[in-house]
Assembly symmetry: C2
Homo-oligomer: 143 residues x 2
Amino acid sequence: MFALDARLQQDTLPLGDFALCRLLLMNDAHYPWFILVPRREAISEVFQLSVVDQQVLWRETASLAEKLKGIFAADKMNIATLGNVVSQLHMHVIVRHEGDAAWPAPVWGKHPAEPYTDAQMASIKEKMQRALADNFSFTEVAR
Amino acid sequence: MFALDARLQQDTLPLGDFALCRLLLMNDAHYPWFILVPRREAISEVFQLSVVDQQVLWRETASLAEKLKGIFAADKMNIATLGNVVSQLHMHVIVRHEGDAAWPAPVWGKHPAEPYTDAQMASIKEKMQRALADNFSFTEVAR
């Protein structure tokens, strides 16, 4: 049984599910910062996934990155799986703009998260709903 | 024609080539920190690679990460493609140990690089030569 790590749950807003991964939005208005979590139990390294799951994770990651680059007019996409703090395997997919709050450094540890307003969240969800129509089921999780 | 970015060339030591990627060792003795660079021209985002190249990049990345975890008894592998400073697509594959110089933060920007001694470099090359016998051609680049 897949259960989302408590820290990820606390720091993010769930958007929905791809075939393999849950898509989360980091609740930090500094950057459009998304996280993909394979819905598999007890996995902390990518190579612990089956070869097929790895291929799907990679396709979902690269496809999401490409869409986000378009939606948010990114200057650069940052893709990373670190897991030094949260061991549940998760892939960061982060939209970077020249001159954003951490640019050109990586985003981790640079600034305390700045929670989205309701209006900002609604705007992002609306953008994502238009972009992810296929192969994605949006969640209706109350928070 | 593939040409390695000048900054990557300056900061790393070349180890050799997989089918797609050049394997570099970051010249920083703080962490066993490797970089894979697809030998393709003018690519800065993973989704600009062909689908086949993406699959190979992912296989080379995941397989390297798994081997490094064993060779260096990693507590966690960090895998990332950022590219905010060096735009040539490159994938970081970094061995992390609890209590290393940056732990649990990501390694970027934490400490000035500490160049390897000749003996340290020889030791790493020897470990890698035993581990990467298949599907890898070691470079004999003088530096």
